[in-house]
């Protein structure tokens, strides 16, 4: 008998039967930051059959304090998080099929990734993406687990289509366009607490033990020694445009406007060319070498140091412009360099 999962199968609510179920499931994790790396490591160690992880960013030194799959070498090489995460996860458990995508998730990308998915775990850092997730999972009848944290505070809720309220029901007045920038810092244990709630709910769902789901909205503050849970079932709104009787999925049309966005607390702007494209990094390197400024690259991205700004070009066409949080300034720099 295989000993790898023996402690988990000894745990009665999972057992051999649950383990077998886990091995047949496919979990999609959106975001490979703090919450994403924590959930991914837990689920891969637990032996979930397939784990897909998606992230738009690359590893930086400031990630290492809490993003548990990354090393100094990953930050030094500026590896895309999805790529670095996949390498580490495969070293942890070679039996799991791990798929990685370096992508900024919007409606089109997510729609393609949802096929065959049993569960989605939210590990994003913004509400724009969460509300797209919320609408698309309702449309495709896939459960998802919201999680978020800042400082020593965190919260989580499990959304089951047709059963629980959705994120739109809970938030009602939503900061459309993402005015929510958390700049209060974060301690790793707050991340791990949210991860513990998310992964445990995920396991319950994956072994078909729906009766054990928490069913409540939970929040905590580890530094202030507070915890709160609220039964929010009464907030399920039959007129909700995302999960009600006549859904219009409002956030699937809103997203089209988001071509450029300011990255929270990072003094950076992301520019997304209007058509999804692949950027020829080799040609770009050649083009940049004629300009003033240092060029560095790895197989996934090219970094260009231009005066006081740093531009990072990804294969999928996106550009991160560091050193400004002004979208129009960022666009000007982009056009100066790319034409």
């Amino acid at each position: 008998m295989e000993t790898r999962y023996s402690r988990q199968t000894l745990f009665k609510p999972i057992g051999e039967k649950g383990q077998h179920l886990l091995q047949q499931k496919h979990v999609l994790i959106i975001g490979a930051g703090a919450l994403g790396t924590g959930n991914a490591e837990n689920l891969v160690r637990a032996g979930v059959g397939t784990v897909t992880i998606v992230d738009r960013d690359y590893v930086e030194k400031s990630n290492l304090q809490r993003q548990q799959l990354y090393s100094e070498q990953d930050a030094f090489e500026r590896l895309p998080k999805a790529v670095a995460a996949k390498t580490r996860l495969e070293a942890i458990n070679s039996q799991v099929d791990i798929r990685a995508h370096v992508l900024d998730i919007r409606k089109e990308e997510l729609e393609g990734l949802l096929k065959g998915i049993d569960l989605l775990i939210d590990a994003t850092d913004n509400f724009d993406t969460r509300l797209i997730i919320n609408d698309l999972t309702q449309k495709n009848d896939i459960p998802w687990i919201y999680g978020a944290c800042v400082g020593s505070y965190g919260l989580s809720f499990t959304v089951i289509p047709k059963d629980t309220p959705c994120l739109h029901c809970l938030m009602e007045t939503i900061p459309l366009g993402g005015a929510t920038c958390d700049t209060a810092g974060i301690i790793a244990p707050a991340v791990q607490m949210v991860v513990a709630h998310q992964t445990t709910e995920a396991m319950k769902l994956l072994v078909n033990d729906k009766a054990s789901l928490r069913k409540r909205l939970i929040s905590f503050d580890l530094w202030k020694n507070e915890q709160s849970t609220i039964d929010v079932s009464s907030l399920k709104n039959k007129h909700c445009l995302s999960c009600g009787t006549k859904p219009t999925y409002p956030f699937l049309s809103f997203e089209k406007q988001l071509k450029s966005s300011v990255l929270c607390g990072r003094d950076s702007v992301q520019i997304r060319p209007s058509d999804i494209m692949t950027r020829d990094l080799q040609a770009l390197k050649e083009q940049l070498s004629h300009l003033e400024g240092k060029v560095e690259s790895n197989p996934y991205l090219v970094t260009f140091f231009h005066q006081k700004h740093r531009l990072v070009f990804f294969l999928d066409g996106r550009v991160l412009i560091h050193g400004t949080s002004d979208i129009s300034e960022a666009r000007t720099i982009y056009h100066q360099i790319i034409g």
Binding site: G33, A123, D125, A148, C149, E172, I174, E226, C264
Partner: protein, 67 residues
């Protein structure tokens, strides 16, 4: 007056009369927050009319975006 907030006893100024007053006292007035008072979720539109009473049991959950 003494109230119970997220499982912890807290003393708040007598000048706080409503749920809305309490939310700004805790710096949560600009946040998206779900409030439960003595086991009942209080509709957002009535936060400024819903009165606070000593020994109330309150639960606050506010939404954040980080991850």
């Amino acid at each position: 007056m003494f109230i119970q907030v997220n499982g912890k006893k807290d003393e708040v100024p007598e000048s706080l009369h409503t749920i809305a007053d309490l939310l700004s006292h805790y710096g949560l007035d600009k946040k998206v927050v779900i409030v439960e008072q003595n086991g009942v979720i209080i509709d957002k539109t009535t936060h400024s009319e819903t009165l606070l009473t000593a020994d109330d049991q309150l639960e606050f959950v506010h939404f954040v975006g980080g991850g």
